[in-house]
């Protein structure tokens, strides 16, 4: 099981696309995304579903129409780890490719 992240790595994660919010207990980050349509949102989720299962690290996520909320945490470590960073990078890449999340 990987160690939890150092504060500087957490800060870097929070600052990365799409702009993650750190939970009060510091053990997870969350983001809310809005897409142009349900089909657009579902294409994004389908891409990340494949990446997540390949990483063997799955998001906690919900969807209503064109909106997707994602929470990342590593349950076995009771906090954020390199696994969350890896999945966050895939999410950032999928959003960037679609032109979303530009600052």
């Amino acid at each position: 099981m990987p160690d939890t992240l150092d504060p500087s790595d957490v800060e870097q994660l929070v600052r990365s696309r799409p702009g993650w919010s750190l939970s009060d207990d510091g053990r997870s980050v969350s983001a809310e995304l809005t897409f142009s349509s349900f089909a657009d949102a579902w294409g994004f989720m389908s891409e990340i579903a494949i990446e997540a299962d390949k990483l063997d690290h799955h998001p906690e996520w919900s969807n209503v129409y064109n909106r997707v909320a994602i929470t990342l945490t590593t349950h076995d470590a009771s906090g954020l780890t390199v696994r969350d960073v890896a999945l966050a990078k895939r999410i950032a890449s999928a959003l960037a490719r679609r032109g979303y999340g530009e600052e």
Copy 2:
């Protein structure tokens, strides 16, 4: 916009597969499903995603690994309508085809 369901129709919906729980305010039903794997859960969600968009009626749903939680409601009617019954039927069919939800 369709009317909200009669109590007898709500009761029938609640009793249908996969066993829906009526919310306290009577305006929505929810179910929690467990699948054999993330891929199995995702296959189910991908099938329902297509049916939902075709019905133009989308679930509120969340996923963590092999678990899927679904809430059905018709926001524009502030309650349950025939649209929720239609989507519930697609969900029941997809579960039955996979052998899930048998009582």
Copy 3:
């Protein structure tokens, strides 16, 4: 059943993103797409799958790793119709959003 397209509409379809090739018999158009990864290709296909079923007009398509080949035709009309134009527009939009197919 819609009529087959006028030659000028076929020409417009062929010129649209992603650059369709008209078959020798003029009854279908095809395109071959390459994505950055299998997950990227699958996200695209998942988005189009939803749009296609909603239009009730499905592509003939194949996939190997990061490559997707698509053929559009309207079988019932033995040729290209407004249905193919509608699906082609969804495909163009999904590719444009990802920055693919720019000329």
Copy 4:
């Protein structure tokens, strides 16, 4: 790179669900599947897409409406290998769970 399969292992693969056809050159197997709807077919493909990318071994497959054609081969070995057996097992499991392919 894994060795190609022994003839007895190829025979076992061909006999497994869903009933694979060996190509004339013995380097690949193919199957044609029919589902109850496009959404049903897409749910199956979405499940296998996740399994395939996790195995890092992808099918050659095509889809038209409710039909899916799949070819398995290991290009780097110019023939059938344990990778194809692994993916075939996932396909058999996904079909069995849906009650398809029973003999």
